[in-house]
């Protein structure tokens, strides 16, 4: 039993998702270790985003159980497959980003981060009534929200652009902003769908730094889908490999990298070519 199975923040058990006759995910089980970065990898169409959508409630899984354990010492748990998408974000504190960035393009960078703190601010504004009357509790809550937004803007290097529309930001900055927005919901588990897609090597390194920072300083568990092997190999504590909706490997980056079946399935090559590919993957990791 690996360490991520001992006290997981999220455990996925026997997850199956069918769309009509198509089986997108077939009896998948894995754990996301507490305070760790877990990578979900696999070839295109392996069902990675579907797993994400099941965890975050955008799809209702056909079968299986997804349990979130927010606290180290047991306590309250959430059965995510029974919750609506916004409840998962609000009650269970699972935040996510999207493969094709979904920012509020016509709102400013700062507004994006304020919207992320909607539920707390709603409470502070006494569901708007207090806000209309301008109660002091709301004002201090709003200051706090601004401070949190500033904190994350500082960490993603966008403090100067706080008052610009989000759609005006360059691509890499939009990716970072989406992560910051997810962080503003104060998540227990952060799910990132291909955070490095479309980034140049420098931005990719910045992203690695940011994710490490989130894990180390805030103790947030991260589950990410990624194609960029350099990101996966450098920062992941745990890698789960999917192919055609089934798990074909599960282990540390090192273990997975050396698993020949992974390389074969992932790159779709014959067995005798595996060694060449292995060398290539190793090269990419360095």
């Amino acid at each position: 039993m690996s360490h991520w199975d001992e006290n997981p923040v999220l455990s996925v058990e026997h997850l199956t998702m069918r769309f009509g006759g198509l089986v997108a995910i077939d009896d998948l089980s894995f754990s996301v270790g507490r305070g760790e970065i877990t990578a979900l990898i696999g070839p295109n169409g392996a069902g990675k985003t579907t797993v994400f959508n099941c965890i975050t409630g955008f799809y209702k899984p056909t079968e299986g159980r997804i349990t979130l354990h927010p606290h180290v010492d047991g306590g309250e748990t959430f059965l995510l497959e029974r919750m609506a998408d916004h409840e998962i974000a609000r009650e269970a504190h699972v935040a996510r980003t999207f493969q094709n960035i979904r920012l509020f393009g016509g709102m400013t960078v700062l507004e994006n981060l304020m919207v992320a703190q909607h539920n707390e601010l709603m409470k502070a504004s006494a569901w708007t009534i207090g806000g209309v009357l301008g109660i002091s509790g709301f004002r201090s809550a709003e200051h706090e929200a601004m401070d949190r937004a500033k904190y994350w803007l500082d960490h993603i290097g966008l403090l100067d652009r706080a008052d610009d529309p989000a759609a005006d930001l360059p691509y890499g900055a939009q990716r970072r902003l989406e992560i910051a927005r997810a962080m503003c919901t104060e998540p227990v588990l952060l799910c990132l769908d291909e955070p490095a897609a479309g980034l140049n090597p420098r931005e990719s390194n910045q992203l690695n730094e940011l994710l490490r920072y989130i894990r180390n300083e805030h103790g947030i568990s991260i589950l990410l889908i990624e194609h960029d092997m350099s990101v996966v190999m450098q920062i992941s504590d745990h890698v789960v490999v999917l192919d055609y909706g089934c798990k074909i490997s599960d282990g540390t980056a090192e273990e997975v990298r050396n698993d020949p079946s992974v390389i074969a399935a992932y790159l779709g090559v014959e067995d005798d070519e595996v060694e060449d590919v292995e060398a290539e993957v190793e090269g990419a990791a360095k």
């Binding site: 985003t49 959508n53 955008f58 799809y59 999207f98």
Partner: protein
């Protein structure tokens, strides 16, 4: 029973007309994703064109059956051509300049256009209701019991036969011809279609022209069957037909036809068995109920939410 059959016949007739108008909505929605609010007015224009041509040709005074049939065919063709020009012009003036722009803008120009068309007809042809004596008369008695006759008029036969014929022809055009292929391509991805050399503007114009022609057929039938028109009939007919298109699943041709028939039947039966006053309420309530439980209509493709 006899009463029921009679209402069924009447409902199918009304429904066929709604269906023909609904196709215009559904095709335009399919290709540019907007509600062509002025389509009901296009239908209204066609009834007036038909009335004017009928009066100008003096069809009412004709005695030879062959001549009347020939003249009516001429009316149909003229109405289709002139209505098509109107359909084209509305697209050219009110929608094309706004292509690819803010989504609400063409909706407002569409509403503006229907105000213009209504008032244009009101000014040029007068606000009063125009009656037309029946030209196609006669029919069959299908059943008779206790003095209640189930009648099927020649006009009703013509309407249903023409509708079925046009539907078949249209399905073939969409499925088999290069124009239909271009339309389907534009529905899927307008930019890609234009990159592949499809003249998107022309395809869209032709869609409006085709929708207007079908509305013209419906208009001629409406005039001949009901014999009363005014400048305001476009709104109600348009809303009903759009309801039919949504009910059937917008973007689907058979759906539009099915929706038209259903709306026609619901309305007719509701009027016959419950109350005439609330027939619109019945049609709209059914629409709301169907949409709440089947958000993409009866025959529409379910919209998968892409995350």
């Amino acid at each position: 029973m006899e009463y029921f059959v009679q209402q069924l016949i009447n409902g199918i007739t009304t429904g066929s007309i709604y269906g023909l108008i609904a196709i215009g909505y559904t095709m335009v929605y399919g290709i540019i994703g907007m509600i062509n609010f002025a389509h009901g007015e296009i239908f209204m224009l066609s009834t007036f064109i038909a009335l004017i041509v009928i009066t100008a040709l003096g069809i009412l005074g004709m005695s030879s059956v062959a001549l009347i049939i020939f003249a009516l065919l001429l009316v149909l063709v003229v109405a289709m051509v002139l209505t098509a020009v109107w359909g084209w012009a509305v697209e050219r003036i009110a929608y094309r300049p706004l292509r690819g722009s803010f989504r609400l803008a063409p909706l407002i120009t569409a509403i503006g256009m229907s105000i213009v068309l209504q008032n244009f007809v009101q000014i040029t042809q007068g606000a009063r209701v125009k009656p037309l004596q029946p030209i196609v008369s006669g029919g069959y008695t299908l059943m008779e019991k206790d003095g209640f006759q189930v009648a099927l008029s020649n006009m009703q036969i013509i309407i249903v036969v023409l509708t079925v014929g046009l539907m078949t022809a249209f399905s073939l055009i969409i499925a088999r011809t290069p124009l239909g292929r271009a339309q389907r391509a534009c529905e899927q991805d307008r930019r890609m279609a234009s990159l592949l050399g499809i003249n998107v503007d022309r395809t869209i114009s032709l869609t409006f022209v085709m929708g207007a022609m079908l509305a013209a057929v419906a208009g001629v039938m409406y005039l001949l069957n009901y014999g009363v028109i005014d400048f305001y009939i476009g709104f109600v007919a348009g809303v009903k037909a759009f309801t039919a298109a949504v009910l059937g699943g917008i973007g689907s041709l058979p759906g539009a036809m099915l929706g038209g028939l259903l709306i026609g039947l619901i309305e007719t039966f509701w009027s016959a068995y419950f109350s005439v006053e609330y027939k619109d309420v019945a049609a709209f309530s059914i629409l709301a109920i169907v949409l709440i439980f089947l958000p993409s209509g009866l025959l529409g493709k379910p919209e998968v939410e892409k995350v």
